[in-house]
Symmetry: C2
Subunit: 437 residues, 2 copies
Amino acid sequence: MTLPIRKLDSTEPDFLAQLDAVLAFDTVEDAAIDQAAAHILAEVKRRGDDAVLEFTNQFDRLAADRVSTLEIAQAELHAALENLSPVRRDALQQAADRVRSYHERQKQECGSAGFTYTEADGSVLGQKVTPLDRVGIYVPGGKAAYPSSVLMNAIPARVAGVSEIIMVVPTPAGVKNQLVLAAAAIAGVDRVFTIGGAQAVGALAYGTATIPQVDKIVGPGNAYVAAAKRRVFGTVGIDMIAGPSEILVICDGSTDPDWIAMDLFSQAEHDELAQSILLCPDAAYLVAVEASINRLLADMPRKDVIATSLTNRGALVKVRDMEEACAIANRIAAEHLEISAQDPQRWADRIRHAGAMFLGRFSSEALGDYCAGPNHVLPTSRTARFSSPLGVYDFQKRSSIIHVSAAGAHTLGKIAAELAYGEGLQAHARSAEMRFR
Amino acid sequence: MTLPIRKLDSTEPDFLAQLDAVLAFDTVEDAAIDQAAAHILAEVKRRGDDAVLEFTNQFDRLAADRVSTLEIAQAELHAALENLSPVRRDALQQAADRVRSYHERQKQECGSAGFTYTEADGSVLGQKVTPLDRVGIYVPGGKAAYPSSVLMNAIPARVAGVSEIIMVVPTPAGVKNQLVLAAAAIAGVDRVFTIGGAQAVGALAYGTATIPQVDKIVGPGNAYVAAAKRRVFGTVGIDMIAGPSEILVICDGSTDPDWIAMDLFSQAEHDELAQSILLCPDAAYLVAVEASINRLLADMPRKDVIATSLTNRGALVKVRDMEEACAIANRIAAEHLEISAQDPQRWADRIRHAGAMFLGRFSSEALGDYCAGPNHVLPTSRTARFSSPLGVYDFQKRSSIIHVSAAGAHTLGKIAAELAYGEGLQAHARSAEMRFR
């Protein structure tokens, strides 16, 4: 089997246009889906539990008679954990421990304590950091139900100090994913409801008699969930709307080509829209990786998905040198960037835009997906230019502190009054002046 | 003149329902505005400069023959600064210096340096922090053209290390606000274009031959601008969509009632939808503040706006005690919270949700609007439950660092492979296993 993978060469005059064409991915804004989501949200806002129950029974083919029966008790979550094989249970626990440990470090290093400082005139300025009160985590049902995502979404919230974590996960036809329930138990999720779709987003955003209103909703979902999250943004916080997953590998040609081929597969197997790209200055190495791809593919249980993804969205790119590879990587701003090279830090120092960087030949992306510690919820579709991995900071917010002394009210008041008059806001000016006149 | 300001009492049985009714503010989603914005964005995306020029000439009543003539040269910005009165120029410079100083402290305290740590087996984990490459700042023209907003949006971007700051400001009928241009000079804005509306948002989001594509767009605008920002979210980052401005004052009854009345005015004068609420346990003090309001109002140049705002959206609320006032403040999650009381820190410690806290009787909100140092771009409409003041962190993003040692690839690989098999992702598992077998 020989896959027709796209080959690009950075010395070709229209290389950048070709690259941009490979990267182009238009989130199809489906008006019908958006309208359906809007309708469901409006019903849930207006009729609460009744609407949630009707949509859930309809879309998930259930026959529940009230929303409270859709809650999964803590005992059932813990039973799911107890019933795992010891090996799998240990793996899940170790992954959770490592994710928690990384995020605790992140909390400690990222100014979560806030700050204050006192000026010469006695005025105090600062910033107070507080966790969100209550957070909702959306976990997809069906084929994309990943227990690792439960850990990656819930643990940073817990580390941030969020008081209550509500998880929603649809169970079409009543089928529960035991590994997902076990992950909820390990991550310390407070309550779990088996609801999904736009109705779950609405329930979390507006609250119902049974389902508590949250302050932020995180986690991936299908097109209806994404449309609903966009619509409730502002009423609650949301995380990024995720696009297809991506890996960009920069390799200097010194890594076993089978390893790189498998890394490209590991992204491509997610779904047919996933994107795997390899940049390398060594033409012979690109040929070797292609040979590995064609040899290894047949053994992959998900070979059809991998083949479609690599054919439609993959690329093997010959670059002039590693410097150019880094410049191209900054243009791509990939979700996952592997730098599989000697002295990878040298090249990492040149990278400005990437969701996560995997340095050195032993750092396969799969380790980061599950258990290295950093979050696997990462910015896709070039949004690493302006956004960050999910982290403790997504479950905290800041408040400014301004405590002006009598002396400060005099000096600051004169400046503020002058500028307020300049903007035509006389009450602002008078409010400042009253404090020093 | 006696304003019919709403009075609430927290001991009334339906108090919370009454309070929620006062707070309720539905952002009207105007389908016609949204469609118009969508059309403008699509035209700018497709036709670039030509579309920007046509819409600008049409909406701002100009007769420009190409977009490049809409750029304001640095010399003109600096001339605007030179031409200010010395007093006003000094005030603007001092405000800028203080805002810069606060945000530099914020950068230093908030983990902007990133971190790495090495595990026992030699694996390195961490987080790299980088500034955005290029940012767009939207500055409204017309009545809401505030030079202070130029400082508050541009300075944190500059402190974060953003390489290039592009400002857009519409100039209807060609009228330029000299104070806004002077603020751009002081803040170090790199380029200024006199364009506005959805066409400016589109130009910044997609780039044109003349206007560079940015990575994030911040700053307030009218309903068309807000609709356009929502639509380009994902292509570029955006800040929050701001609602009407709000002040909540908690007073223990020990502050000159005229000061508090003027603080309520200073919010109300912004626009008729602005909201000013006072919480106090002392009934006599509430009467005194009301008397101050009725006495001071006549002298206010913007008295009509103030009267409408206070009548329709204001409230004087009698609470049981200061503890209850703090609980109510957490429910309101106000943009601006003044705690005008003895020992304000005691009460501030109980506040979980507020955009900015102004502590003590000398800390009028007006000082924070202009020159105290913290940002005046703050979360409105209860979004302080989950979001933060604009800050240096809004112009930076993080990348995770994962550098696994050979030993780490063994221990982590076994965990990852076990979980990957559990999720049915065999290429993930094989990618991990290849590194230790």
